[in-house]
Amino acid sequence: MATRTLPLSKRGFNFETTMWIFTRFTVIAMYGLILAGLIGALIMSARTGANLADILYWAFFPNLSGNPLGAYIGVTILAKLMVVAFVLVVSGHGVHGVLEILDDYFTSAFARRWSRNFIITYAIVANLIAIYVIWTS
């Protein structure tokens, strides 16, 4: 089978190309953050004697009472920054994915415009809530 590839220079930097690159790179970013998070949680669980599951749960569901990282303030801030970055990457990737699905079902310009408005508003509100709760937990 012959491959059909078009160099980036010939694709032009329109919205589709930009989002195509963004979607692929956010996949790599998510895998990187998950890997870094797991390795970091393994190191910190060994150092603090905390349960690995507790550290992961605290990182991804910040409603857990108490910080299993204890007095490691720098690590706590780094962990929160990583989770915030993960939420932003996930929502950016997800919003574009949901829009692609909705575009397949909503064919009128009106429905597409409002589905975009709705999903982007949803992403902004959800991200603001997530960042606030993660940072203040």
Binding site: M1, T3, V27, V90, G97, S108, A109, R112, A126, A130
Partner: protein
């Protein structure tokens, strides 16, 4: 402006696209499932405690694992083939490898969830 495609579900299911088609469909289902998960995650963050009961339900966990893991592994395959277009010639082998990796990881994850659900 998109094209209006009125295709019935039964007609869609008869499409003989085989593995690439099924991965495409499952990827979309997985993406939608993860979007629901993300919404529930936000609800947990704002303190809606009833969502925690759903998160701890083993059926929900298995549902999320089956579709979420497929989305993650299939997304990695798509990214690899997109960033290294020379590999597109081997897309069928890539899908076969994907099924094997998915079966191993998903099988292990389901085993752990079921073992926990049964108090193991």
């Amino acid at each position: 402006m998109g094209v209006n495609r009125n295709i019935s579900l039964s007609a869609a299911l008869q499409y003989k696209g085989r593995d690439p088609y099924w991965t495409y469909i499952l990827h979309r289902i997985g993406g939608s499932a993860l979007f629901i998960f993300f919404t529930m995650y936000i609800l947990v963050l704002v303190g809606v405690d009833s969502v925690n009961a759903i998160f701890s339900n083993w059926l929900f966990q298995i549902f999320m694992l089956v579709f979420g893991l497929f989305h993650a592994i299939n997304g990695l395959r798509i990214t690899i083939l997109d960033l290294w277009p020379n590999l597109i010639e081997h897309y069928r082998q890539a899908i076969n490898i994907e099924w094997m990796v998915y079966a191993l990881i998903c099988g292990f994850a389901i085993f752990v969830v079921l073992r926990n659900a049964m108090g193991g």
